[in-house]
Symmetry: C2
Subunit: 208 residues, 2 copies
Amino acid sequence: MINIKPEDIEKRSFEIISEELKEKGIILDPINELVIKRVIHTSADFDYATNLVFSNKATLIGIEALKKGCDIVTDTKMAQAGINKRVLASLGGEVHCFMSDEDVAVEAKKRGVTRATISIEKAAKLNKPFILAIGNAPTALIELKKLIDEKKINPILIIGVPVGFVNVVEAKELIMETDVPYIVARGRKGGSNVAAAIVNAMLYQITR
Amino acid sequence: MINIKPEDIEKRSFEIISEELKEKGIILDPINELVIKRVIHTSADFDYATNLVFSNKATLIGIEALKKGCDIVTDTKMAQAGINKRVLASLGGEVHCFMSDEDVAVEAKKRGVTRATISIEKAAKLNKPFILAIGNAPTALIELKKLIDEKKINPILIIGVPVGFVNVVEAKELIMETDVPYIVARGRKGGSNVAAAIVNAMLYQITR
């Protein structure tokens, strides 16, 4: 056990991550480096060094939008809990999660689709710029692709990192076919913790 | 993309996990099987098939306590968000997270320790049986070991799954030296999502 002050633990963790990436011969794009390292920090999983895929300047686009006070829409209460809402609020943004809304539940049941699908429809009606951070539901990404094709939704950035075994891999590939800026965890891995870490990594590049 | 009803996605996911475990030649202890599979389900990471360590009958002890309405104390708002509180409440339990409490912050700052350390001290004063679910802070486990040795805290079960690079591996090994029942993710991996998945896996064995 090493003796370390609480405030130094994160710094030391990032140093270890940097050292081990170097040992593995992995060189990260400097633009995306802090996002990738924070995801590894939150998961202890170096797979994210290679499976995170960024569209051109996605991280910079996200940071610029957050600076201007954009909102975040996410598909889980866990991601909502994990995003640093104090920092986000200091920039003028807030986090929305529509998944537990009564109207969403009713509509989903009526149409036999997931609440995530209906949540994306609801996000499309927001009258403020927003980043989508999807950590759980591939159906959210499938609906999103449909609405993008129909020009009915216009997110600034899609953080597409659902985790799972059914339609998850394919749903993420769909998002990478769009013209909307994206950060996607290719393959099965991801999760609410990963979605929150990506948002926080962008926030901290503004405020730290 | 396969066409599947929302309510069948989880079932199909667990079937895929079972098939792939079989292909890998991994046979799970039936007592812990549903806990391990749910953690894989939440992370898409088969490492948990081998790194989750259970003390004797830990899962059964957790399930019995939850049946009797025990509470959960966790170290993150994310785990608190991820635990199925509706099901827990139906059994008479609730989730506590003391990390953002004003008194915890003040005391941690005063003593130069983490809020997680103080949160464990606060948990020790609960006058109701509880399970500890630690998904983030190794310092929580270190404090816990100390209080167990001093016979000042008596959790029914420790879910010790913090994630990280500094003192995390060692803190988890400490917990495995105690006589308290535990479920630990050996090594660096873990997280709030893993902690919540373990609790939910026990809850669902009671109510589904």
